[in-house]
Symmetry: C2
Subunit: 345 residues, 2 copies
Amino acid sequence: MTLNKKITIYDVAKAAGVSRQTVSRVINNRPDVASDTREKIQQVMKEFNYQPSAIAQSLSRQKSNLFGVVTAGLDYLGPSKTLSGITQKAEEMGYGLLLKELASFTNKDVQPLFQWFQSHQVEGILWAAPEIEDNRNWLKDLLEENDIPIIFLTMEKRENVSSVSIDNYKGGRLATEHLIEQGCRKIGHISGPLEWWEARQRKQGWKDALTEAGLSVSDHLCFEGNWSSKSGKKAFLQMIKQDPEIDGVFAGNDQMGLSVLQAVNEMGKKVPDDIKVVGFDNLPESEYFLPPLTSVHQDQQKAAIAAVEELARISELDFQGLETIAPKTILIEPTLIIRRSSLNS
Amino acid sequence: MTLNKKITIYDVAKAAGVSRQTVSRVINNRPDVASDTREKIQQVMKEFNYQPSAIAQSLSRQKSNLFGVVTAGLDYLGPSKTLSGITQKAEEMGYGLLLKELASFTNKDVQPLFQWFQSHQVEGILWAAPEIEDNRNWLKDLLEENDIPIIFLTMEKRENVSSVSIDNYKGGRLATEHLIEQGCRKIGHISGPLEWWEARQRKQGWKDALTEAGLSVSDHLCFEGNWSSKSGKKAFLQMIKQDPEIDGVFAGNDQMGLSVLQAVNEMGKKVPDDIKVVGFDNLPESEYFLPPLTSVHQDQQKAAIAAVEELARISELDFQGLETIAPKTILIEPTLIIRRSSLNS
DNA sequence: TTGAAAGCGCTAACAA
DNA sequence: TTGTTAGCGCTTTCAA
């Protein structure tokens, strides 16, 4: 009893000797069906291996049970961890996912994307691509034109939009304050690309921590990388040339932190004795660097879960026509994982 | 002219003073519309910001333009690189993607998943989760029951199923042969979990390379890890205890390779002078390990692209009712990236 | 507890 | 070149 023709509700109804509506009631677990009728129908459905068409249901109910997800840079660890959290939570809550990956981080032509989602009747959109440069400029237009609930992961707080972000500023402070506690007095920062909001936040955290501790924050203490190990090394070499007395480095991510470890080693100096290093992201491998790298841990999974929950809440209310949903900004706190690279021996 | 009520083809037709059919023709770029009629309609569509409902189109055409994607372990690098390739290529070819992530690698209850995809009328399925243990046991049942075209990424060759895989066996050989060339005579292997097909393949490549070179392949030369740096270190320590004369290690991935570097260092020995190391995966960071790690590079992007192309081909033919599509197994060749960890100084 | 009729938004087949 | 008629597979009234 397989394939050939697609089984429809009509086939089931006919075989069970009832009307399509009654079958529909069974599908939707309505109470108003005689129990023997129900059983009969269920049996036929099983026998035919019947699957109601989600498409027909969506059309009829005007409800798709689908969320749209926008990601970018899936070959990076952060975005895919976030996506993983989204898939798990969405599954748990019974939502399907339509996935789009931006071709580039700075893609600004988001119109087609929204139209596509709209035409597929998604009930909400999870925007899980990082905020870079002015790649949120379309937001104001969007808010007027678009009536699909949307939630952003990782972006600057805005009053009229819901978002869930890791507190990168806090992370920057945690890292820097720790280095200060460990006795560092000249703490450099290798930032991510400053078009990234996250990179700017981390840098600001570094800056404020230094200022509060009464330490100097001159420009030649911060160099910009592009997240890659290669760029981190280059930035570090420039930095150490400008100021050979640097005794602490806060790297914008672990990859750049890794290359600092390498560069220090090649200079014939020692981490942590001569220079202490802290990274960001807490890669699984960081524990195995030489020496193991202290790092700021951000729980992207947690952020993703919060985002899905909030979106479900919003879209549910939206569906019921309650328009008065106040946008909400959720911040997730990072934590510092301390390892040898930053500790006095 | 935004939102409020959803604009349908009917609204457009009325406003343009034509029938819905004619509008439909314009939507689908049919030639048989007078050019002034077409312009008029297009203008109305623009004015109303009209978007045809993909759901209604799917139902009517019996064609969704959607592929289903199954992934697992998105927080690992491999699966997300693969997924990234899939999204890019699918986008390029005009397919949307419905995404599901398996809760665990060894999930065997795939029935609901298939039913869900089926109910959404996906035109094909990309199975991008690794083959582990007997998590392909459902294949035989599936092939009978399921009529959706499906293509697997990374699995053992099977006559009746299409798949695209990296040639892991070849990768294992490349790594090992390279170590032999560099003069190693006692080459150990730290494998991934042997329930993984990929891990078994890499190991077999190692074994065969040794055998062909006339080197011994005793059991205490291979230990099993679980891909993590931690497990790699443990495996290496066991190995070196059993046979202190080991002068080369082929690690099943770069993470485990990394911890071998660490462990050797802690023993007071040197890589590559005392022990040479090769990894697998060629992580971006591997270039910055101490010393930089030689590694087998697998182009998952390429595999993903091939898979999408093949699936599109199959599903297209399938849609036309041509049932005679011979399953195809595509193998992608890995390459060896040579760095200091394996070179004579 | 069940069924008939209408409709979700669109397209295919046929006529005009 | 355009319109009419019938669906696609299901759900939602409303009536029986």
